[in-house]
Symmetry: C2
Subunit: 192 residues, 2 copies
Amino acid sequence: MPKVGMEPIRRAALVQATIHEIGEAGSLDVTVSQIARRAGMSSALAHHYFGSKDQMLVAAMRHILTIFGAEVRGALAMAQGPTGRIEAIVRACFSAQNFRPEVVAAWLNFYVQSQTSDAAKRLLRVYRRRLHTNLRAGFRSLVTDPDDAAETVGALIDGVYIRQALRADALSQEDAVSLVLKQVARLTDNGR
Amino acid sequence: MPKVGMEPIRRAALVQATIHEIGEAGSLDVTVSQIARRAGMSSALAHHYFGSKDQMLVAAMRHILTIFGAEVRGALAMAQGPTGRIEAIVRACFSAQNFRPEVVAAWLNFYVQSQTSDAAKRLLRVYRRRLHTNLRAGFRSLVTDPDDAAETVGALIDGVYIRQALRADALSQEDAVSLVLKQVARLTDNGR
DNA sequence: GTTTGTTGATTGACTAGTCAATAAAGTCGT
DNA sequence: ACGACTTTATTGACTAGTCAATCAACAAAC
């Protein structure tokens, strides 16, 4: 029963299925057939809409980054004061959303892909720059070197995230948030 | 012209070739034939010595961790005083050795594998615990909560490493070291 | 009747792992 | 010193399976 106007629906279903499938495998080692089956269509149709497997993977990564960006923007909108804005960013980075296995898998494999794929490298740079800009804006009125503070906190966020994501014992995000925020406090104490 | 006593030589050659091949591909998506060819033997011989591709990969990862451990130990041996020991660890983590493309690739894929492989997860935990113990020992006489300081610096090291490893512009390790050490200084100032 | 949606079947390429066969080196009884 | 047997090293050929991508063909909608 072919209906018209399926393209956006199919594409969205494929992106969702790709993310899910990557999460289950833990790697990019997923077949187009698996993805297509989960999305409820034939693999030929998946190729029809995306052209190649690579483009499916890129679309999935882009989607995750889009959601992440929206989350940060939403958190920032409600924050008040410089420290409030910084805290909002940190909390957004460690939201439950970002610890779902498929999101963790996407991030880790994103790093791997960034070594060889220019598209992935570009996306990663966009994410980093946005985070840096937001953090720096928050630090501007608090420390003498906001660039340095933003760089430090950005790296700390990445490091804590990876450690949390790969912990054997599931640990609360609160610990991650408080560890980073404690460090933020130290930075502001010394920076003025 | 089969010679006797080839096993250790062949195994070492295969481990080296595996690391190199992973570095070139940027992922674990390398074929046994590629590895064997680089190591100067047939794929059948590679299977003969390692049994399976997985075991080659594990051996390669283990080898990289072994080298890393030796590097840290060596740096620690020459360091004096608590701050000296911490600095030695940080410097070892950001040595040129660790930024060679094949080592970067190994680490990133190591993270990916840790999601699903118990062997990888175990190895990663050993690395983390050793780093934590060493850092905590250095911090013991410097701060009130050495555990917390070690955790923070450990995460910061991981985060800075990933960021440096994936930078488009090749950047000096010195920047990484100084960023982390600056943070160490802040920790010690506030901790007493 | 042209555009859009859809799939089963197929192709072509590649891959991990096995196996039988060959060859040198070592062992040992004589 | 010598043949017989064993162990170790080594590979080409093969198996059995996988997977991305293509294509021809059919169905609905416009």
